[in-house]
């Protein structure tokens, strides 16, 4: 598959539940060989979107084309080429890891061996353990093993690391990265901006069933026009400086107040921070906290919607 081939194309996709429009006119194009992220808070429509792409949920309007085929007609041929890990699937409790993978392997005409997949997800030692005895991270790796055992061209992962500890999360990222290095295409949903930044070539930021920003994580962050974010909080009762004053400080691109907390997007932290300190001293207000970090997709989401990714 050539690098500029399209793995998924969907146009004007709409899904309505009784009185909620979960997906409100979505256009997406996922290129073959890329890792594409759907980033957004809970309820943004990420899962609804992937389940429509996976052919598990009927769409109300629009068109979906996956690997050049459409659901309805090519269902079986398509499923042979997809790997799917749903959000929170509980696999059979009292089957062993190897038995579950062997079961899933039997559904595919072609695929990888159970041993190979056990190796890839590093569950070789747990091959004879019952699923119910696995930790959260191990279960998630098993879910991915089941998705990989058919040697898919396209892998869907719905919130693969939600609720996992940092180490398990990194382990999963490595599995996904290896799949991509092997030429596979990945679509994943997440509300962890770090995950999107680490894994995804391109990200669609979703909110209220729509894509509100699309691009590589680096390009998206660059639209903030600033590399750094300075966050600070003031002592209770202090008279806060107006946002306009803060925004006018040297090196500061924009200022936002969120209750007692302030967040400045800055181009040059080394100029902005001293200027901020001087301004606060002049006004006689005292800092209780000061943090600077590189701008992230979280900051982008905040600047686009005024809300945090993980508010919901």
């Amino acid at each position: 598959m050539s690098s500029n081939a399209v793995a998924i194309r969907c146009r004007a996709l709409v899904k309505r539940y009784k009185d909620v429009t979960a997906v409100a006119g979505l256009d997406l194009e996922v290129r073959a060989g890329e890792c594409f992220g759907l980033l957004g808070p809970n309820g943004a429509g990420k899962t609804t979107t992937v389940e429509m792409l996976e052919g598990l949920l009927a769409h109300d309007e629009g068109e979906i084309e996956v690997l050049g085929m459409r659901w309805g007609g090519h269902e079986h041929a398509l499923r042979e080429r997809l790997g799917v890990a749903l959000q929170e699937t509980k696999l059979a409790d009292r089957l062993t890891v190897a038995e579950v993978i062997r079961l899933f392997r039997s559904f595919y005409r072609r695929g990888r061996t159970v041993e190979e997949v056990l190796d890839v997800v590093e569950l070789g030692e747990k091959r004879d353990a019952w699923v119910e005895k696995l930790s959260g991270g191990q279960r998630q790796r098993l879910a991915i093993a089941c998705a990989l055992v058919g040697a898919p061209d396209l892998l869907f992962l719905d919130e693969p690391t939600t609720g996992l500890d940092p180490q398990s999360r990194r382990q999963l990222w490595e599995i996904v990265a290896a799949f991509k290095r092997g030429g596979g295409t990945v679509v994943l949903t997440t509300h962890y901006m770090e995950e999107a930044e680490r894994l995804c070539d391109r990200v669609a930021v979703m909110d209220h069933g729509k894509v509100i920003a699309l691009g590589s994580p680096r390009d998206l962050i660059a639209t903030l026009g600033a590399d750094h974010v300075v966050e600070f909080a003031l002592r209770d009762g202090a008279e806060p400086p107006p946002e306009a004053v803060l925004a006018a400080l040297p090196g500061v691109k924009a200022a936002r107040r969120d209750g007692p907390r302030f967040s400045l997007t800055v181009t040059e932290a080394h100029r902005a921070v001293p200027a901020l300190m001087l301004e606060l001293e002049r006004r006689g207000v005292e800092l209780t906290e000061l943090v600077t970090h590189h701008a992230t997709l979280e900051d982008l989401f905040l600047s686009l919607t005024g809300r945090h990714l993980r508010d919901a």
């Binding site: 949920l57 799917v84 009292r94 062997r102 079961l103 899933f104 559904f107 595919y108």
Partner: protein, 344 residues
Amino acid sequence: MDGHHPFVQLTLARFREQLRQPEVLFWVFAFPLLLAVALGLAFRNRPPDVIRVGVEAGPHADSVAALLGHARGFTVSVLPAGEAADQLRKGRVAIVVVAGETVVYRYDSTRTESRMARLATDDALQRALGRRDVRAVAEQKVMEKGSRYIDFLIPGLLGLNLMGTGMWGMGYAVVDARKKKLMKRLLASPMRKSHYLLSFIAARLTMLGPEVVLLIGFGMLAFGVPMRGSVVDFLLLTLVGAMCFAGIGLLTASRARTIEAVSGLMNLIMMPMWILSGVFFSSANFPAAMQPAIRLLPLTALNDALRAVMLDGASLAAVAGPAAICAAWGVVSFAVALKIFRWL
């Protein structure tokens, strides 16, 4: 079909899951045996009871008591008048004998036990005093196997078990897979839906053999329950029964999203049959007006057919009617279940 075929793998998965749940094994295998033992003991056929006789204290009391004491099957006690009346009232003695010039039997003629005691006591007393029989008689004692309570019970328990395992085996597993989203995950793979459903039936059938052999074998060995009909016919009937209730189980589970919902439905369907379908007592006890409806219930049909083959030695042709009722329930249930099944 090799071991890597999805149908084989799905069946294996289902079978392993059942075997690895001790509670499933208990309900399928141990529970019916325990029930058979408990009920077999409670309703076992006893030898004839000993007749308890009170003799009212008086001049001839001791000689009468001695005469009765030598006869078999009596326990005799000599009691003061007040005490004798009291024990008769409480049923501790079945009859009180007042020995005088005329022997008086004091007893409650409305109680079977007392009437029996009156006859037996008089007979024993008259014989002891020298009465001779005018005609020679001989006795042949009969305890017919196949007409005892345990004989009635064992096929009924088998029917009950086929209903329970069929319904729970299908219903619980299907709803559990749906609730866990396992079903959805399977459908996201190229698995065939037909393989999935057939694997449930195949797994059910692998349990059927041991289930039938264990309960019937136990009944035959422990209680001497007879198997008068053809074993093959009998096994075919259990197969029809198992499929019938697998179908009803699948239908019950075809829409339910939660275990609670399906459990409620299962009990709603099974409860009337526990009572009406002649498991523990004959359904003939219900009013005649209800009989046509009761006979149409799948468990009644199954139990009637199982008993006819096992106890009366009926042929398969002779039980074609109830077997057909059972099969019809199964076929219709499967058809409707597949129509309305909630896959996602």
